[in-house]
Each structure stands twice: as structure tokens, then as C-alpha cells.
Amino acid sequence: MAEPSLAADAKPWKDATATPFIRIKNITKKFGDFAAVDDITLDIYKGELFCLLGGSGCGKSTLLRMLAGFETPTSGTIEIDGQDVAKIAAFDRPTNMMFQSYALFPHMTVEKNVIYGLLREGVPKAEAMDRVADMLCLVKLQDFAKRKPLQLSGGQQQRVALARSLIKQPKLLLLDEPLGALDKKLREKTQFELIHIQESLGVTFIVVTHDQEEAMTLSTRIGVMKDGKIVQVGEPPQIYEDPNSKYVADFIGSVNMFEGTVDVAVADTLRIKSPEAGIDLLVEPIEGLKVNQSVSVAIRPERIAVTRHKPEGAANIVEGEVEEVAYLGNLSIYCIKLASGKTLKVTKSNLLHDDVPIKWDEKVFLSWSNAAGIVLTT
């Protein structure tokens, strides 16, 4: 069954000639006057593990439910493997779904839950039983076949739900917050199991999540959603390092944001006046900016160095006073108040114990390179 899985270096979305496996074109879903999904166009490729990421009410679940066939789009088309699925009812679609609540049939055993889809497809009982046994092995539930769902732990129930949704080898598996109901430890472990299963079966996954860490860990690409629209699509590093808007920069990880106006480009640096920062911010130049245009500059907390002595050669240097220090084990978070009154968040990894830790009320220098600042216009 296994198609060659998506190799780490194969990136069909970068190949203009590759055919998308799922084509979502101008999809809109209105509930009354409210557009839960607003004119989304998105291509997803075979073997991808695509994450739809967004806060509650952003329309990510509605989009997923339209793919599954539980909601009918108000307008737009969805194609799966070249086939328009508009007229195909949920029970006929080549997709399967793993529900947030797992939605296991409480009156059936684990085995009966998993075999249900195969029997509906008309697979002979004996063959179906073999496939169920294989699938239960894959999710390490072979010893629990005769149990009822309520007699299982949360993690086991999650795996039954996964097994049940994978047994029909769907062209597309839709996962609605698949790890949402698990506690943090188990969630981290399960993330990798999920990737492993996805790679070994070669099924295309679309995962809906509100957890940005989960999206970062799991996905080949992330689609960040807001108010029914997709605001950015990209690989996890791209989304993090190169967000295209203040919303994305702020939503993924934490960020320090400065408001400013474009001043002048000198050689390979762009100068941005920012009274909020108290200094002129030097960043790498980007195209399409006009002088005096209002922009925001986003700087990730880990890209800022904090030192007692004025560093040499850094593009941006500003003085401040330590307001808060939070020790988190692997790293520490500093809140540093600038002369302008703005507070910056800086993280520092606790790799070395070589120097005396920086304490409250100390005067410090913050510095970052001109590559650290991300200029955002929206």
C-alpha cells in the first residue's frame, strides 16, 4: 500500500509543475451573515502533513468539516485527487476523519470500532479481521481488542480513534485537534508516533490545531488562519523566521514589536526611525518600501543578546534596566525596560554557568544584528 513517502527534501509546493493532490478553490462557508470560512484557496500535495493553525473561531474546523463532507460550502470547489467532491456525501468520500472527542462508538469493542469502516466498504469479514489485527499492532493496541472504549485510558482511546480512521487507507486523513485531549507529556510523545505512522503509511494528513508548538513539530507546511482566511502558508521555519504579518509574528512564538517609519537605505542596511525603541533600528533591506512609510519591526526574544558591557560591532544596541527575571530551567526570560518606557522580552539559554547571572534592577545593554529584525507592513 505504501506509496513512497514524502522525502524530507522533496518539496512539491516549490515545484511549479507538481500537481496538487487536494485543491481548495475560493471556498466560502457562511452561517447566516457570518463567513466562517472566507474565500480560501489552498493546494495540498500528496503525502503532506499539513497543519491548519489558528485560534478558536478562525474557521479551521469548518474548513476541515467541509473536506470531510459534514458541511456544504456556500461557494467554491474542493477537488481531491482530481475529483470534485461537492456532490459526494460524507459516507462516500475518500477521506476519513479523526475527531477531537475521538467519537468512539461506546457500545462496541475496540475491534468492532476499527472494523466498522471496512465492513461498510464490503470487505470480506476474514480479510477485514486481518487488517484490523495489523492496524491494532501498528498502534500498539493488540492486547485491547476486546475492550470497550470507556475501559481505556485517554492515550489508548486516541490510538483507537487513529486506527479506526486509518483502516480504510483514506486518500486524505483529517485530524481535528488529534492531541488536544492528552496531557503535555503524552502529547509530546504521541506527536512523534503520529509522524512515524503518517510516514509509514504515506497517507496525506490535514491536522487542525490551535497549538503552535504542535503545528511546528508535526507539519510539512502550516497554514495560519484568522477570521476565516488563511493569512500565511509556509514551512514551519519560514512561518517562524519570516512571518508576513504582525498577526503571524505574534501568534507563532513570542515577539518584540516596534512601530517606526522608514528612513533611508544605506548600502546593505535599512534604517528605520523608531521613537519607541529610542534608537534608529538597522535591518536588512527589503524591497517595495517608501521613505516615511509606517512599518513594524519584529524581533524574536532569543535573537537579542543581553550583556553588562557595551558589545562591540553589533548593528543595534540599546540600554535598559532589568525589570523581571524568570528562570525556566533550560532558559531564562528577562523583561527589560528601555529609556523610552517600552519593555522588551529577551530569552537567554542557560548553557553556561560562566558568568554571574544578571539580576533585577541591573543596567544592561541589549544588542542584535540587522538580520534579526523582521520588517512587517501589515
Binding site: 459526494i88 462516500d92 475518500p94 461498510r120 466498504e121 464490503g122
Partner: protein
């Protein structure tokens, strides 16, 4: 697509229906819809129609609505009700009896519901079961039991006289007092259940917060508990008031000849006087009386469902 499924019997049926422009959904909806239209909605239209017909000595004993293509309607039956003090008195008497029974049921039911809601499990479930249990035995027989208790030579008088509390037996049977007892007794569980459902959701922390802010128990009760349980109070009260208005069995068994209630009047018009048009007019008038209580009940139920 998978061709295996194309031959499933469900699919064949669906295909067959589709040929007549029908979907399975439409058939499913049609079943309860038609039943209720024919046996619930249409009967009211019939009642309405007969209430504007003239009584006749015939089978059926009323004049037809359409004669030679023109409508033959009369408000005579309603005018008759308006003029005869019997009907007006029966109305007032029904409202009075239903109202005071509701107040009594609330006064008894509220502390009971509160007590049950504040009881620890499993005591709470057991008490609740005890409230529901009488539902499952015959209502008619339970009302009948009160005859043996309340009548002049009944259990109550016997006991009271034995303990020397009274010298003469109390005349309760065949009075309005007996009707009050019967109604409160029968509908008390209808008061308790919605109140309980409401009070059990009341967060202890609210009462503690109120006490913490300096309110005494009585002040807390009137300022916090009562306003929060208002949907339960309204729902319970309407569930007592509405059936009490139309009650027939209780006034017939426990009440006397002087006990006037519309349910009893309707029954008499129909069975004893065989005046179907007047009985229908009484029914329509009774329904009008219930419109506001039914709307109150709806509001309380939607509000109760929200919290």
C-alpha cells in the same frame, strides 16, 4: 468511487424514492408530521368549527359549517357563556383554585427541592426517586385514596378525634379544601423536579461569596438563591397551574356539587347535557386562558436550558 457500495439495499431504496422526487429525509419527516397534523392540529380546527355551530338534535348534534357554499357561523355559544354566570364563576373559581394550589405547592416544594439539592449523594438520588415514584402508580387511585382519608368518617378525623384535638369531625370531603389538597398532592412532584434541576446547579461558592461579603443567610436567600432559581420557580409553577386549570378527576372525586371548575363544566356539558357546541366553546375559552401560562413556561424552560 468504490463500486462495492453501489448495490447496497439502502442505496437501491434511495434511488427508487428519488425517481418520485422524494428523499428518505422527507419520508422520515412526513411520518410524525402527518400523524400530529391529523390527530392533533386538525381536531382543534374541528373544535373551533363546532364552537360556532348551532346545537341540533341530530347525529352529530351540531349544525354544519358550510350550507350551500356559505359559512354558517354563530357566536351564540360564546354569548351564552358570557351571559350565564355559571361559566364566568367557573372560570374565576378555576383560576382561584389553580393559583392558590400553585402557591401552596411552591411553599411546600421549594424547601423540599432545596433540601434534596443540598443532600449528599446517594441520599439525593434516593430522595429524588421517592419524588418520582408515585408517578408510576395510578394517579386515579392515589386521588381516590384521599376519599378514605378526608371523608367525615375517614382516617384523618378518626385520628384527630382519638387524640382529642377535635370533638366534631371536620367536613373536608366535597369542599374546595379537599380539591386544594388533591391538586397540591398530585402536582407537587411537577413543582419539585424543575426546582430541583435548577437548585442543584446553584454553585455553593455563590452562597459563600454572599456570606463572605457580609450578607446573612436570609438576605443571601432572597438576594441570591431566589433570583437565580427564578426559571425553576416559573417552570414549576406553570407545570402546576396549567394542568390544575383543566383538571377534571380531582374536583369530580374530591370536590362537592358547589366546586366549580371549567374542566368539570366541560365534561358535564358534553356527557350530561350533550351540548357539543357549548362544550367546544368552553374548550376554546379554556385554551385562551392558558396561552399566557404556556408562554411563561416556554420562556422559563429556554432560560433554564441556557444556564
Amino acid at each position: 468511487m468504490t463500486t462495492l457500495q453501489a448495490s447496497s439495499p439502502w442505496r437501491k431504496t434511495a434511488a427508487l424514492l428519488a425517481r418520485f422526487g422524494l428523499t428518505g429525509r422527507m419520508l422520515v419527516i412526513a411520518v410524525p408530521m402527518l400523524w400530529l397534523l391529523v390527530f392533533f392540529l386538525v381536531p382543534f380546527l374541528v373544535v373551533l368549527k363546532i364552537s360556532v355551530a348551532d346545537p341540533m338534535i341530530a347525529r352529530p348534534p351540531y349544525s354544519p359549517l358550510f350550507v350551500d357554499g356559505s359559512i354558517q357561523a354563530t357566536i351564540g355559544n360564546y354569548a351564552y357563556m358570557w351571559e350565564d354566570s355559571l361559566y364566568i364563576n367557573a372560570y374565576w373559581s378555576s383560576i382561584k383554585i389553580a393559583f392558590f394550589s400553585t402557591v401552596l405547592a411552591l411553599l411546600i416544594g421549594y424547601p423540599m427541592s432545596y433540601y434534596i439539592a443540598r443532600s449528599p449523594e446517594p441520599k439525593r438520588s434516593l430522595l429524588l426517586l421517592l419524588i418520582v415514584l408515585p408517578f408510576w402508580t395510578s394517579f386515579l387511585l392515589r386521588v381516590y385514596a384521599w376519599i378514605g382519608i378526608l371523608k367525615t368518617k375517614g382516617v384523618l378525623n378518626m385520628l384527630l378525634m382519638k387524640f382529642g384535638l377535635i370533638n366534631e369531625p371536620l367536613i373536608i370531603m366535597q369542599t374546595d379544601v379537599a380539591v386544594y389538597i388533591g391538586i397540591v398532592y398530585t402536582y407537587l412532584p411537577f413543582m419539585i423536579l424543575p426546582l430541583y434541576a435548577n437548585l442543584v446547579k446553584l454553585d455553593d461558592a455563590l452562597l459563600e461569596a454572599s456570606a463572605d461579603l457580609g450578607a446573612g443567610p436570609i438576605s443571601t436567600f432572597f438576594r441570591i438563591t431566589i433570583p437565580l432559581s427564578l426559571p425553576g420557580i416559573v417552570a414549576g409553577s406553570m407545570l402546576v397551574f396549567i394542568p390544575a386549570i383543566g383538571e377534571f378527576v380531582i374536583p369530580a372525586l374530591l370536590g362537592g356539587p358547589d366546586t366549580l371548575m371549567i374542566g368539570k363544566i366541560l365534561w358535564t356539558e358534553f356527557f350530561a347535557n350533550r351540548d357539543w357546541p357549548v362544550a367546544s366553546a368552553v374548550a376554546i375559552a379554556m385554551l385562551l386562558l392558558l396561552v399566557i401560562p404556556i408562554m411563561l413556561l416556554r420562556m422559563a424552560q429556554t432560560k433554564g436550558a441556557e444556564t
